[in-house]
Amino acid sequence: MGSNKSFSARLSLNILLMVSLIFIVALIFVAISSSKIIIDESTKSAQLTLDVVSAEIEKDITEVEISTSAGAQIMMAYLNNDMVCDFMVQSFVNKSDLLTASMIAFVEGVHRGDTWYSTYAYRDSLGAIKMKKLGSEDYDYRYMEWFQIPYMLKQPYWSEPYYDEGGCNQYIATFACPIMDKDSNVLAVMTADIPLLHIASRVNSIHPYEHSYMNLVSYNGSYINANDSNGLVGQTLMAMAYESQNEAIIESCQRIVNGESGLSKVLQGSVASLSVFKPLHNGWKLSLVCEYRDIMARTTQMHIMLALVCLFGLLVMFIICYSIVRRLTRPITELSEAAISIAKGNFATILPEIRTEDEMLRLRDSFAFMQTSLGHYISELKSTTAANERMEGELNVARNIQMGMLATNFPPQLSAFLQPAKEVGGDLYDFLIKDNTLYFAVGDVSGKGVPAALMMAITRSAFRFFSGLGFTMGQVMGRINKAVAEANETGMFVTCISGRIDLETGVMKYCNAGHNPIIVMPPSGEPYFLKAKPNLAIGLFDSFVYEDEELTLEPGTRLLIYTNGISEAETRAKELFGDDRLLAWAKEKGAVVPRQLDPDGSNKVERQVVDSLLETVRKFVEGNEPNDDITIMSILFGQK
């Protein structure tokens, strides 16, 4: 189901899928149940067929058994009369349609001491009844099973099927019944030959299903229903079973020849079959084999029809379901279109009308509310955006003004850098040279943004105003403090360091109002933080008296003044750059920059110092945005 399908289609397909699953489960259940019923019924039907056919065959063989046994009983009294014997077998054959021949064969020595004597009546190929006397060296019936078994067992016997060559020239079976005197001595054996053709035809004509077949085998497992067309002549059931090399078939056939009654299921290749079997009273065994594909053929057809009906039903259901869902969800589509229109800025878009008082109506009302709210919100947003844009413009102007206030006419011995953290910053630096004296100041206003920038502007203006008027640096800082404190109603303060260097003598007067200490990098020796008296930051108390200090600089001494944007620069892991790294930088990088002023009068030497520190700090913070203004000032007291 693709994502580009409509909701109606997806919902309908989902319903279709669920119903299909239910149908499939139901169909499987029906198929299994009906198959089981069909198989049970077919098994019963096969057993019934087997019973019917076996009853028919038993009727025939029983008729032969009864008439032959009756004849044997009668003949007991007439064995000494050859004419009666002849008449008996002749009339026996003549009166029975089932028989092709009959014989009375005497036990050796019973008939006048003869080794052999028998009287035999048979139908010739034209149907005429003929008589013969059998028994000779070439036909020694004394050792033949049909004579020997009833003689020895004193019981009737059914022979194996055999080809009666020279007689009726067809496959027959012989029923042999002993003729005994009152002492149960067997005197002769009376036989009745029945052709197997009609029994075989009857068995072979039974086809409950297209591929089903019936078999009748003898006591020793030879096929009685053998004929030239079915290729069973001379075959035995077990020989066929062994030839199949199929264990299930061999087992099934073994049960049949064992005389069992029952059923078995066998699989040969891809063909599964049902075999039902039962023995007849004379030792013959009847079996019926039906292939399951035949049994299931009608069921399969029914299942296919059922599946087709289900498929058609599903198709109709899908169409109806799709139409209903589409109609029900049409307001959603319309609301969706309205939402798109609203999104495009058409807040006056008319929402669809909902007549039902259900979730759709609530959805429509929500949409209407959203539409109204969105209108108001957009209107407010426009105003706010305009104000923000205006403020941003003003801030840009302020930034330009602030940056413009910074001195940029660097003398060769000084370089400075300032980078506000926001549009406008609170850091400041300034310098001026008057009467061969360099005045400098670096400060950091507490806070950021516009208030800090204003404070910075005041501080810078005060420094520039009071420097060079002959005040000590302590007095300069005191006046700046007073000017700032008077304008400070918000409680802000400024840390600041200012000083002046006599460019002739190198005497530096400085005053540190709560600011980071200056790093002094003498031409010989280690850099160090310049200690200062603990003056308060300016702007806090307007009457605070600031004290200045003095340091005489050797030629080549470099001073580095900075704000806490450098010393407190931090990585994303909140690790500070710190004074130690700053001092280390001063030893490794700051101190190695040349201590000679550029003879061209540019400040590129000191710019190298500023750039070096800036680069070191930027590498340290690994791209983390600075959260405070950064100011660096480098001053070299040196010769040109």
């Binding site: 070439d138 033949m144 020793n220 073994q254």
Partner: protein
């Protein structure tokens, strides 16, 4: 002129008859039983023209299943030139004065079994039992066992088949491993091996199928006997090499003789017959004559068991083709 022409025609006919008799010697061979793959080698020799190649016109004449006569009877009566019979049958007949000679010993092993409805590990189990045997013979080893072990077996003669046994008319029955035993399996399915007493496994492994001729016939027709033996061997060798074709020939032969059977059984029979032709000492089908020493031992036992009336010289029976090998 007409008289000369008549004489010429007579001479021509005489020459043709003479040549026929010289180049195509008519002989009759009687196997010991009805047509089946036990005799496949003979059918193959006939069908493939091996006899004809030797200049013999062989007729294979089977004894009817219902006949009480055996093949040696027909040889004695002069109704056959060659008879297929078991070695011990020939020994018994010679002992009784029938002038037979063994010209080819095909089988090298005994196929005889006594199959019972009960386990038969010990011969004592047969004591006083009713046991079926072929009335035409082939039962000598069991007769010896009966006498030597004084089992008092009640013998029931029968013609053929397994009906007496399967219908429980007898307690046990003699069977051959290549015929009745297979037929039993084809009939009742699996049969317990513990109920089968195999004489070959009990130290009584006497070869069976052989070809016999009348001594006088042998003396007068040595060349014909040699040819028959040579062609017969060739037939069996071909059968061993081409068993399916031999089975086809046998089945066709059986059908022509109205003998009903199935290919499965005939195939199994042929396989067993070919196995029995393999000499267990050389592991080859070498058709060796029965050794003289063993003959002496066997004859002594047979006389003492009353199976044959008197002893005779080994050379009397084994003269001729068999001895030459």
């Amino acid at each position: 002129m007409n008289c000369n022409l008549f004489k010429f025609v007579l001479l021509l006919i005489a020459a043709m008859v003479l040549s026929q008799s010289v180049w195509s010697q008519k002989v009759v061979f009687v196997p010991q039983f009805t047509a089946q793959s036990q005799f496949a080698g003979y059918y193959v020799a006939l069908q493939k023209g091996f006899y004809k190649d030797e200049g013999l016109d062989v007729e294979i004449r089977h004894i009817g299943a219902s006949s009480s006569q055996n093949s040696i009877d027909l040889l004695v009566e002069g109704k056959a030139h060659f008879a297929g019979a078991q070695l011990m049958q020939g020994i018994v007949a010679r002992s009784k004065g029938v002038k037979l000679v063994n010209v080819l010993q095909l089988s090298q092993r005994s196929s005889l079994c006594c199959v019972a409805h009960f386990p038969v590990g010990d011969p004592e189990k047969f004591k006083g039992k009713k046991i079926g045997r072929w009335h035409k013979g082939f039962s000598e080893p069991c007769l010896i066992l009966d006498k030597v072990a004084n089992l008092g077996i009640q013998w029931v003669d029968y013609n053929s088949g397994i009906g007496l046994f399967t219908h429980h008319a007898v307690d046990a029955s003699l069977m051959t491993s290549f015929s009745e035993l297979i037929a039993l399996r084809m009939s009742v399915g699996e049969f317990p091996d513990t109920n089968i007493y195999r004489f070959a496994d009990k130290g009584f492994d006497v070869p069976e199928d052989a070809i016999f001729v009348d001594e006088t016939y042998y003396k007068n027709n040595k060349a014909v006997v040699d040819k028959f033996v040579r062609a017969t061997k060739r037939g069996w060798e071909y059968t061993r090499q081409h068993q399916d074709e031999a089975l086809d020939i046998t089945m066709a032969y059986m059908k022509a003789n109205h003998v009903v059977s199935n290919r499965t059984m005939q195939r199994m029979m042929l396989e067993e017959v070919l196995r029995l032709q393999v000499n267990k000492e050389t592991n080859k089908p070498d058709y060796k004559p029965y050794p003289k020493e063993r003959f002496k031992n066997l004859s002594g036992i047979m006389v003492s068991a009353g199976v044959m009336p008197r002893l005779f010289d080994y050379e009397d029976l084994m003269v001729g083709g068999a001895r030459k090998q």
